[in-house]
Every structure is written in structure tokens, then in C-alpha cells.
Symmetry: D2
Subunit: 181 residues, 4 copies
């Protein structure tokens, strides 16, 4: 059975993104990481230095350990300024270091997994969230993650996404999908 990991990029508890993701995964076993619970330092690009990347002492390695142990990665992020949150961006930026990490073959590992994207935001996210959907397509392609799909929900105030029926019916649809995996 596929092991599912949610990587949540929100800065607050019980936000709309988390809510929508929970509906999608109702009664489905999964692990959940809130990036805000970890210190993740921004990358220092040393790809072109002689010494290469230095080990970084923060929470990143622990998250990657969990990533490697799961088959399906659900990137759940609020739409902050029409993009993924800084929490999630710093996390993904660090993948450049993982790609050079000798302890595993990051690209090969990711190439065996699948990815899904959940976005919630205000200000017409069905339209203004599309560049982020396209960005994730490029990210997934680069590491070989198969793009399962995405949901875009609308909501700013707490629980507002529960009123976005279009998002809810999609969450229910994907709930069936993940149950049948």
C-alpha cells in the first residue's frame, strides 16, 4: 500500500490548506509534516565551489528522511503572494543540496514517487494560482516525481475553504482516488 506524506507549508494551525487536505485524506492513513515546526535554513548555493556544500545543522535532514520513506508526497501550501510559502520554498531550495548528498541518490529516490499539490488562497486562486501549478510541474519533472494532480481552494479567513464547494467536491473525488490506490 502506498505511504502518503503531507508536507504542509502553512504558518498557522488549522489553516484552510490543512483543512482541505484533511478532507481529501479523510480515513486514509498518512503522515503529516508541518514545515513551520522545523528550522529550515535557506540554501547557501555552493554548487560551484571547490569544497561543495557543507552539512547544515537544522531540521531539514529529518524531513528528507521522512520524504524518502514515503511513496506519495502531497505538497500543501497556502498561496502566499501567488506562490508557495517561504517555508516551503526554503525547503525545496535545499533539494539542490540533497541532489549532491552522497548518503542517497535523491533524484533516483524521487523518481519512484508521485506528487500532488494542494493550494489554498484568496483573490481568485483558480486563476492566479496557475503559475504555481506550472512551477510545480517543472519541479516535479526535474526530480522525476510523477504529477498526480492538484486542487486549488479558495479561502482566507479560518475555515472559509469549507464554503468553496468546487474545491470540496474535488477533495472528495481525490479521497476516493487515494483510497483505491
Amino acid at each position: 500500500m502506498s505511504k502518503i506524506l503531507v508536507i504542509n507549508g502553512s504558518s498557522r494551525e488549522n489553516g484552510n490548506t490543512e483543512r482541505l487536505t484533511s478532507i481529501m485524506l479523510e480515513n486514509i492513513s498518512h503522515a503529516h509534516i508541518h514545515l513551520r515546526d522545523y528550522v529550515i535554513k535557506p540554501i547557501i548555493d555552493k554548487r560551484h565551489t571547490v569544497e561543495g556544500f557543507s552539512p547544515v545543522d537544522d531540521g531539514y535532514d529529518q524531513i528528507i528522511q521522512s520524504v524518502l520513506e514515503h511513496d506519495i508526497l502531497i505538497f500543501a501550501t497556502p498561496l502566499y503572494w501567488y506562490g508557495m510559502s517561504g517555508y516551503m520554498k526554503n525547503f525545496i531550495d535545499r533539494w539542490s543540496q540533497s541532489l549532491r548528498d552522497k548518503r542517497f541518490d535523491f533524484k533516483k529516490e524521487m523518481g519512484m514517487k508521485k506528487g500532488f499539490v494542494v493550494i489554498c488562497g484568496g483573490d481568485n486562486p483558480d486563476m492566479k494560482g496557475l503559475p504555481l501549478i506550472q512551477q510545480f510541474q517543472y519541479i516535479f519533472n526535474f526530480v522525476g516525481l510523477e504529477y498526480i494532480g492538484y486542487i486549488i481552494g479558495e479561502g482566507n479567513a479560518p475555515d472559509e475553504v469549507l464554503q468553496d464547494e468546487r474545491a470540496i467536491v474535488q477533495a472528495n473525488h481525490w479521497n476516493k482516488f487515494f483510497k483505491n490506490l
Copy 2:
């Protein structure tokens, strides 16, 4: 005369983005902020709490002070994973807090400024950088920054962008433009 501020989101010194921006601003007076020189904490979204945002003790306020004092903001970021760097994303995410800051009217101040975007990256940035260009359009629209234009340069290894003649001719073009402002 217009006062120009470069906000640089790169993690390394003398990167391609910085190089291309320097060519564009050769012999033009401007200030330059490297976000990596500051601690900028990721936002904690308190828009929907009773108490609202708490003051954050880091380098953000100092940068905003500089932003407010300039007329043209040049967002110069390497293309990390087909988006702006985490450094820059954390910086922009914090604007949500500035929008509620009583010390100034952030949106009104930004509405009197103009913005420009410089992106450098590998892996076909002229194509795969377009979602980021679109994201900046939405960001600029939201705060009322007039979008002057953008340059996309190609380059990964140090100084590689100097070989991207298409980017260089555009940098030279914009150099004239900024000189004539």
C-alpha cells in the same frame, strides 16, 4: 531623479543575477540590498487573530525602510526551482504584515513606485521562468507597483550569464532606459 534600489535574493556573492543586474545599472546610481545579509524570519500569519501581528525582531524593518525611500525596486533573484529564491520569498511574504503596519500606508507607498524583475537560471529560463514573471505581475498588481519590465538571463556556473548575449543586449537596452529616467 528616480532613486533605484536593487533587492537581491541570491545566496552567493557575484552570482549571475548580480552580474546581469550590474551590467544593467552600469554607471547608474543605485543602492543594493543582499537579502542574504539579513535575518528575515518567515511570516507567521496572524491576519485572522484577535491580537494581530506581533513585532518581529529581525532585519526586515531595515530593508522596508530602504524600500520606502526609493522609487524603483529591482527584484533580482536567481531562478531556484523555477521560482524566486526562498530568501526573496520570505521577504515578500512579510509584506502581509507590512500591509497592516500602522507606521505607514504600505500599499499607498508601493503604489507610487515602479518594479522591475531580473531572473537568472539554468535549464531554459526563457521558458521555465515565465510562471515567475507572471507571479511577479500578480504581486505588483496587488500592491500597485507599476511593472516596468523584466530580463531573463541564462547561467548556472559563475559568470556564465556573460555568454548569454540575448540577456546582455537587453541589459544594455534597459541601461539606456534607466539612464534616461
Copy 3:
């Protein structure tokens, strides 16, 4: 009650786009125009000539007459080469002539209507159809059509879209929406 018009850009009968649109509008009164049933000549751009546009003798005027009589316009097009079909593109290109037509104020009329987009195609339309969704946003903005929403369905072979459960649940969702208008 809102009067709904479907403008269908498919070249074949009972295609997937038509199927999906029918599900969305089940038991809802609406008119349906198949652009393939009309001769619509490509535009000859005379915006910058002294004499201006000449009347064109084809089916376009009849369709516009119907457009003007409805409140909600549903643009239903197969995804041909990652864009709207040539049938639909030729139809929309001619709007440039309608904008200068003295018999009505096209922009004002359109500004009182709402638009919706239905797309069906193969080859990962949820991703590769997004530029078309964005193009429609610009089109709608230009003439002032309010963008209600969109559905993207997957399907090439006849009736294949009926297997795309994600599209179907969305069609059902919008069915309720249009019934409650």
C-alpha cells in the same frame, strides 16, 4: 432568469467537449451554437485603414445576434494543439470588428455578461490547458466579461471524458451552480 448560450468550437458531433458541457447543463435551459455549422471568415484587420472594416457576408453576425441576447456565455472548445480550436479563434478574432460596429456597443454589452470555459483534450490537459485558461482570462478582462470559472476534461476518443471522474464531479458541481442562478 439568466439566459445561457453555449458556443461550441468543436469540429465533430458529440465530441467530448459537447458531452461534458451537456452534463454540466443537464436540465438547464440553454441555447447551443456549433461554430462548425457556420461560415466564419478570418478577420481582415482594418483597424488602421482609412475606410475601416467592411461588412463581411458570412454567419458571424447571426451568432453575435445570439450572443447579445444571452447573459452567460459558455465557451466550449476542444483543446486543439494546446489552444482553442481554429473555429473558435476565428470567431473571437472577429470581435475586433464588432468593437467598431456602430450597430451596438459591443464592449458595454459584453460587460454585462458572464463567461465560462469548458475545455476537453488529451495529453494532460489539466496542465497543458492552463495557458488557454489564462488566455481566456485576458480575453474576458478586455471585454469586461466576468469569469465565472472553468472545467478541464480529459478525453480524446469519443465519450472518453465520461471516464474522467474529476471533470464529471466538477460538471455536476457547476450544474447546481447554474441551476441556482
Copy 4:
């Protein structure tokens, strides 16, 4: 030496797109097809019929003959309603028929060629033309055309693009590029 073919989708003579393309190809040998000079019927999708596509009696075959004889295809189209013109869309839609044409292996032939895109339009084409650039990426990928690059010029009234210095410097840049091929 590479043989260059311009496929022009404009409806008027000496338009901005044609002007910009001419600057780009100054003193470079090339052929030029104006789609408006041919009758190109919209496709009738018969991919899923027993009998398959029927031969169509119009100018399409003649253009394809020329396409097959060249190495570099320059798709030059005005930005009509934020997309390629209907002339060009009808032409490309017909490729679905060519893909099934027994007289040649269309995909293999195209896979040995390279493509370039020139777009001219008003209303902020550097931004609102980006979905079309992305659409061409998908089109080129599908048939295997290598995407050399693109220029976006601004201009509505005759010769207005000559004022768009940013487009002109790019045209001059690509002029050198094509000369050195």
C-alpha cells in the same frame, strides 16, 4: 546552410509582426509564406472515424510542402486576442491530419527542424503574450521541433514596433544568431 521559412499569420500587409521579422532576417536568405494568401480550411477531426481523414482541397498541402523543405520554421503571428491569429491556428490544427498522412512521416520530419516564434501586439504583450509562448512550447514539444527562442514586440498601429527598442535589440541579436548558423 540552414534553410529558413517564415510562416506569417497576419491578416494585413506590412504589419508590425512582418516588420519585426524582416529586421530579424535582414540580409539572411529565407522564404516567406503569408497564410492569408491561401485558403486553409478548418480541420474536421476524423481521428476517431473508420474512414479517417479525407483529402482536403485547399492551399494547406502546398504550405506543408514548403515546410518540409526547410530547416528552421519561424512562426510570426500578431497577438490577436492574446493568442495566435485564427489564420495560424487553422493551419496548425490541420497538423493533426498531417500526422496521419501516409505520404510522409510528419513527426519525424518536424523532429529534425527547429522553431522560432515572433509575436507582435498591443496591450502589454511582454506579459499577456506569455501564455502563447507557453502554448508554442507544448506544440513544438509534441512534434519534436527544437525551440530556438522567441521575440515579443509591442505595436498596434503600422510600424509602431519600430519604437519598441527592446524588441529591436532582440531582433538584431537574433539576426547575428541566424547569420552564424
